[in-house]
């Protein structure tokens, strides 16, 4: 058997790299554009031996695009650094370290779980569940009921032939709109998600740096907890400042913070996304610093009340890395959370408050572990909030 020394070396390298990334997680997670093309790009090229280097931009030996005599031009044209001048075991360090976003999230979760000393959760069993991205074979017409012994093409052709034969016109009398032949709901789109999580993030001017880091860490841990419970959950992302927009996951982690704050717009967008949703549990996670524009306050209140009716659980994270007092809209929500059982309010100041937030946001963490059947959360969640829990 051949020993793959390079693979062993690669393994060692990756191990060190993970350690490095873990140590620098707080900086990495703050990058405004966290996800680019589904990848998290880091500043480091790859691990290097700490040999000395020149600091500033230095002159280097280069080659043109291959056309001799292309000289004389200033910049703009193609310049290729002449690398590999040394050969042997000397390698250029050109490969930037990129991680798949999933890998990054896993890494972050590992770090955060360790930091918060949270126990690992078990996956719930997914026995008997069917989930597929493929289109099912269209071998009968109504795939929900009994298999109908009908065939659209055959019926149309027979009808056409009959009309030609009997009436002399090339027409078929099948009404596609009324008979609804193929127009049943596509089962591939009807995945059993079990939960819908809507993340609403304030991206007004103040939300950056530590604010972003805190929210992202919070979200990664939420994912961790929710995924153990709802392995097929559906997530949707909304960002708002003056107006709200739905974003893809990658865009959600690469937003520019700017503009004013209209919490009402974010809530409206979130409720729009509820159209046609039939999941067991509908979660709304709202992260903001609560400084909604003064004109928006009343409207935001109304929308918030409405959201409380329509979502099973509404979680409000007051992003507050400076640890200042709670005012504005957040104060109102905090007050309201004392009366409304399906609303939890958390003042996100630091990692410790994230631990607190997880307990508040996801009641089943508090004692029940991963044993309950799905679907039961909806009814029983109210009673769990104040019980001591395994993630305490």
């Amino acid at each position: 058997m051949r020993i793959h020394r390079a693979r062993i070396a690669e393994h060692k390298h990756d191990h060190l790299l993970r350690e490095y990334l873990k140590q620098n997680l707080h900086e990495l997670i703050q990058q405004k554009e966290l996800v680019i093309d589904g990848k998290v790009k880091t500043q480091i090229t790859t691990l290097d031996l700490p040999t000395l280097r020149y600091g500033e931009e230095e002159r280097f030996l280069a080659q043109g695009a291959g056309q001799a005599q292309s000289t004389g031009g200033q910049g703009g044209e193609e310049v290729y650094a002449v690398g590999g001048l040394l050969g042997g075991d000397h390698h250029g360090k050109e490969l930037r370290v990129e991680l798949d976003f999933e890998e990054f999230v896993r890494l972050a979760q590992e770090v955060l779980l360790e930091e918060l000393q949270l126990p690992a959760l078990h996956h719930v069993s997914r026995g008997g569940e069917v989930e597929t991205e493929d289109l099912p074979e269209l071998d009968d017409l109504d795939r929900w009921g009994l298999a109908a012994d009908l065939n659209l093409e055959e019926t149309m052709v027979t009808s056409l032939l009959r009309n030609i034969r009997e009436r002399g016109v090339a027409e078929y009398d099948v009404d596609l709109r009324l008979d609804g032949w193929y127009f049943v709901e596509d089962p591939a789109a009807d995945r059993n998600h079990r939960s819908l999580e809507i993340y609403v993030l304030d991206i007004s001017g103040s939300m950056r740096g530590d604010y972003l880091a805190l929210v992202r860490k919070m979200i990664f841990l939420l994912w961790y907890a929710l995924e153990r419970r709802y392995p097929t959950n559906l997530r949707r992302y909304v960002v708002f400042q003056d107006v709200a927009e739905e974003k893809t996951r990658d865009e959600f982690f690469s937003v520019e913070s700017s503009g004013g704050t209209h919490i009402s717009s974010g809530l409206e967008k979130a409720m729009e996304l509820l159209e046609g949703v039939s999941e067991y549990d509908k979660y709304l996670f709202l992260f903001t610093d609560g400084e909604t524009s003064s004109g928006d306050f009343e409207l935001a209140k109304r929308r918030f009340e409405e959201a409380l009716e329509r979502f099973d659980v509404v979680s409000y994270g007051h992003v507050n890395p400076g640890g200042r007092g709670i005012g504005g809209f957040s104060e109102y929500v905090q007050e309201l959370s004392r009366r409304r059982p399906n609303l939890s309010f958390v003042n996100l100041v630091d990692l410790d408050s994230i631990r607190q937030a997880l307990r508040e946001f996801i009641p089943y963490l508090n004692g029940e572990g991963g044993t309950a059947r799905c679907g039961s959360t909806r009814r029983s969640s109210r009673g769990w909030r104040r019980s001591p829990g395994s993630w305490a």
Partner: protein, 384 residues
């Protein structure tokens, strides 16, 4: 492998007719993965270190892109081992075989290579095994930390330098002679230094070696392939790395100007610095479209003097800033000096570098650079 045996014999015979001489070459048919492995570690049976892992990843990723993939690999040993990639086309491997005989001839005849250690495979294996036994005895982390430090200072080797006084100006030789190390630690430092010298020689002769091999390759192929294949070969030559083309162009120029005998002579007595210094002309610089690029004001300097200087500078200190050891004032004194005072070192790396040196020296280490004196001792880095 059998399909290549006849053609290998033919290439070998042709090479001898050309006046080349070499030790036996053993060809091995292998996959990209092994090539990536050997290329990243430098030798097939070297000790394992995380640093090769990063390189392996990089090369492995490049292997999938046809243009940058490594087509051949040959080791300076007796006999020479050469690797043929199984997924290469027949013509590609034919090129590799011819190219390899160019290298083999260079290994056997070049003044600097003749003196090199042809037994490096056994030496590397022995080092690897000994390191493993050290890991068991002294703990893996201890050995790994030591290896990190040794490899960091190992870039300061100079395989050409024979004068002990001038060698002692380079950090690694100085440490080897004077650092207060235990026996096993000294063994590791010495082993790393020996292997680094093997690679240093390759690095200091990279242009001439690749240039000669490419030159020989084309000489041999001209006799061997059809006109259509020849067209394919000559177009693929142009996509080789710049170093190959620089070396190749210089040898073409030498043969055209002074004839074949002179080319043989150059391959025997020259190394990169001398080759570039004596043979590179303004006309060749233009033909190769080489220039020194300044990213600050985005200007190109196509002057032969500037290009030469840049190439030679790369060779003398391998692109690293030139660091020398100052004459010590006492037995525990170690002061390093950055020779090119005008240029600034990256301050972020200084602490890490000095810590590596300190790991081996175990007494305060000073570095004069960037107009300051950096000191690293058991309290860490301080500046004055």
């Amino acid at each position: 492998m059998r399909e290549y045996e006849t053609v290998i014999a033919r290439v070998e015979a042709l090479a001898r007719e050309l006046g080349l001489s070499f030790d036996p070459v053993v060809f091995r048919l292998t996959d990209s993965e092994e090539i990536a492995e050997v290329a990243s570690m430098g030798l097939p049976n070297r000790f394992v270190h995380w640093y090769w892992g990063g390189a392996y990843k990089e090369i492995h990723a490049q292997q999938s892109k046809a243009v940058f993939s490594i087509l051949e690999l040959v080791l300076n040993t007796r006999p020479s081992y050469a690797f043929l990639r199984r997924t290469n086309t027949y013509l590609q491997n034919l090129c590799v075989i011819a190219h390899v005989y160019g290298h083999a001839d260079f290994f056997a005849n070049n003044h600097w290579f003749r003196k090199s250690n042809k037994d490096i495979l056994n030496l590397a294996e022995q080092h690897a095994r000994t390191f493993r036994s050290f890991e068991e005895k002294y703990g893996r982390e201890t050995v790994e930390r030591l290896l990190d430090a040794c490899l960091t200072v190992a870039t300061s080797v100079n395989a050409f330098e024979r004068d002990p006084a001038r060698r002692a100006r380079r950090v690694i030789y100085y440490l080897e002679a004077r650092a207060p190390l235990q026996d096993y630690e000294r063994y590791i430092l010495e082993a790393v230094r020996q292997e680094a010298e093997y690679f240093d020689l390759i690095q200091r002769t990279h242009i001439i070696n690749e240039g000669w091999a490419t030159f020989v390759e084309l000489e041999l192929l001209r006799e061997l392939v059809s006109a259509r294949q020849w067209a394919e070969v000559s177009s693929s030559i142009c996509s080789r790395p710049a170093t190959y083309m620089i070396g190749y162009t210089l040898f073409q120029h030498i043969r055209r100007t002074w004839g074949w005998q002179k080319a043989l002579e150059v391959r025997r007595f020259y190394e990169d610095v001398r080759l570039v210094d004596e043979m590179l002309t303004q006309e060749l610089v233009h033909r190769l479209d080489l220039f020194v690029y300044d990213p600050r004001d985005r200007t190109k300097n196509t002057e032969v003097g500037a290009v030469k200087e840049m190439l030679i500078q790369q060779k003398l200190y391998k692109g690293d800033p030139p660091i020398e050891v100052e004459d010590p004032t006492g037995p525990r004194d170690l002061t390093l000096v950055h020779v090119e005072e005008g240029r600034k070192l990256d301050p972020k790396r200084i602490a890490l570098y000095l810590r590596s040196v300190y790991t081996l020296w175990r007494n305060p280490v000073r570095l004069r650079a960037n107009g300051k004196v950096y000191t690293y001792d058991r309290r860490g880095l301080s500046t004055s």
